[in-house]
Symmetry: C2
Subunit: 301 residues, 2 copies
């Protein structure tokens, strides 16, 4: 008897599905993010699963992320912080779709000390997965950073997410490099050395903690200091990551953090954290999300 | 003998021309900004002037702003700060075009204490115009704020611009309200009361000086606190203006400033400055640019 299950991380920009037989991954596939759908979410999911269903008798699909948003397959509530894995998994939304049993993980909601509400969908699965993979992180007080379009800083004590804050860093970087006047009419050729120099210069500028006034230097340094477009892109990346780190460290007091994400982004955050004298370790985002989805699936069985 | 002259302020988003006979304004007209041209700058200018040239024997056109940029009618250099009106006007670029004598005002360039280069084109004309209109501002030390797509803070002592800094505030507001996920899928209906409340809430949040981490509240407050899209737009405006003011006041130490600009924007900046305990007065941007163009024209006669 095979134990087939599909685990899915469905974010704003990408759907990523993995077919498992017990602990063995049989296949992987990608699909459009919830923010880029052209068909209904349910139709898109069934289409992505069709090749596997033609070969296997699939019964169960476990999803996290924007799959549970208003624009997803079913709206899952937010579990309020502080929340441990039981509080979280208890807020799941379940549905049946074309003979499939689908469990959709809830998000988390938090309110900051200053009264600002905040939400996440998908990152909580990675955090709870990290706690399962690394029992040392499930004891005591820890800070997790989940970089991305909407970067999250989460505060965890004894396996419970106490609260978190969202930084628009990744989306802001995309808007400023793709849509703003800062890189308008500039040479966009890739140049790794210029980009790395720009990143370091942006990190240094971020330490002055005046990010709004430092943005325009991406353009003026091209006009007046002979900097390239590649330098300016690197500068904006360093300035934004560095500013996120500076603000988060100032409000949290964190001196050591665990970065959960893809290796390339984790490396950039590692450099920004190092520049702010914060020690960091990196965990694979993919491994954490799968571990979290497994935990969630076990709670719904 | 009539003394006809055309004064023009040609920015990124708009060309504004005024026809004067001595001190009397005969007519006004608008055209596309340098950032939105579909024909050549020279051709666009001649087309905008054609109706007046059909009636009058025009000889002279005085331009400032992006007219002197690489994408303008002729590239005018930047005068380096510190610069008084003579240093500035001495860097003009002149050309003849279809029988017209055209004088294009230079911009200003500055280098901040931290080494960041900066540039302006057009705002210097308003600053020198303000000093001509208000001789009290031409003596002693003063701070000028010129809000807009790229807001400028300029430091002036005894009629000389010592330096300035650019804030991307207006462009950032446009990107975040028109292109970001913060207002995606939200009700965009205008609601003056919600917008005003959002502006005040954004100003209050700006005082915490963690702008990158405060942006996402525009969205999460809609999801979790029942805020409207109008509130979120106001919040972003208050947060960005307030953050600009906080950063500029922290680096400049300014306690009193003169805002040069359109009345509606000057009023918002007045509120943001007031919230930061900075006293302010407002001058009309239009009156200042005309006074500056007159000064510049006199220096080129």
């Amino acid at each position: 008897m095979r134990d087939l299950v599909v685990f899915g991380d469905w974010g704003t920009s990408r759907l990523r599905l993995s077919l498992f037989d017990g602990g063995a991954k049989l296949a992987e596939t990608d699909g459009p993010g919830i923010g880029a759908l052209i068909a209904s979410p349910a139709g898109t999911l069934l289409q992505a699963l069709a090749p596997w269903r033609a070969e296997h008798d699939l019964k169960r699909v476990i999803l996290c992320g924007m799959a549970g948003s208003r624009s997803g397959v079913i709206e899952a509530p937010y579990a309020d912080c502080p929340a441990d894995v039981t509080d979280w998994a208890g807020q799941a939304a379940d549905l049946s779709l074309d003979g499939l049993s689908i469990n959709v993980a809830p998000g988390l909601a938090a309110t900051a000390a200053n009264g600002a509400p905040d939400v996440m969908r998908g990152e909580e699965t990675q955090i709870f997965g990290a706690l399962a993979l690394r029992p040392d992180l499930a004891q005591g007080e820890h800070w997790f950073v989940l970089p991305g379009t909407h970067s999250k800083w989460a505060h965890v004590r004894d396996g419970r997410v106490l609260g978190f804050q969202t930084f628009l860093t990744g989306e802001l970087f995309a808007l400023l490099t793709e849509r703003s006047s800062l890189l308008m009419g500039t040479d966009r050729m890739e140049n790794a050395a210029d980009s790395a120099q720009g990143f370091d210069d942006g990190l240094a500028r971020a330490r002055e903690e005046r990010p709004i006034g430092a943005l325009f230097e991406a353009r003026s340094a091209q006009l007046r200091a002979g900097r390239s477009g590649a330098w300016a892109q690197g500068y904006l990346s360093g300035l934004l990551l560095g500013s996120e780190v500076a603000e988060a460290v100032r409000s949290s007091g964190a001196r050591a953090v665990t970065v959960i994400g893809a290796a390339s982004l984790a490396e950039r955050y590692g450099a920004a954290l190092d520049a702010a004298s914060v020690t960091s370790q990196a965990l694979s985002g993919e491994a954490c999300v799968l571990a979290g989805l497994r935990l969630f699936a076990a709670s719904r069985s």
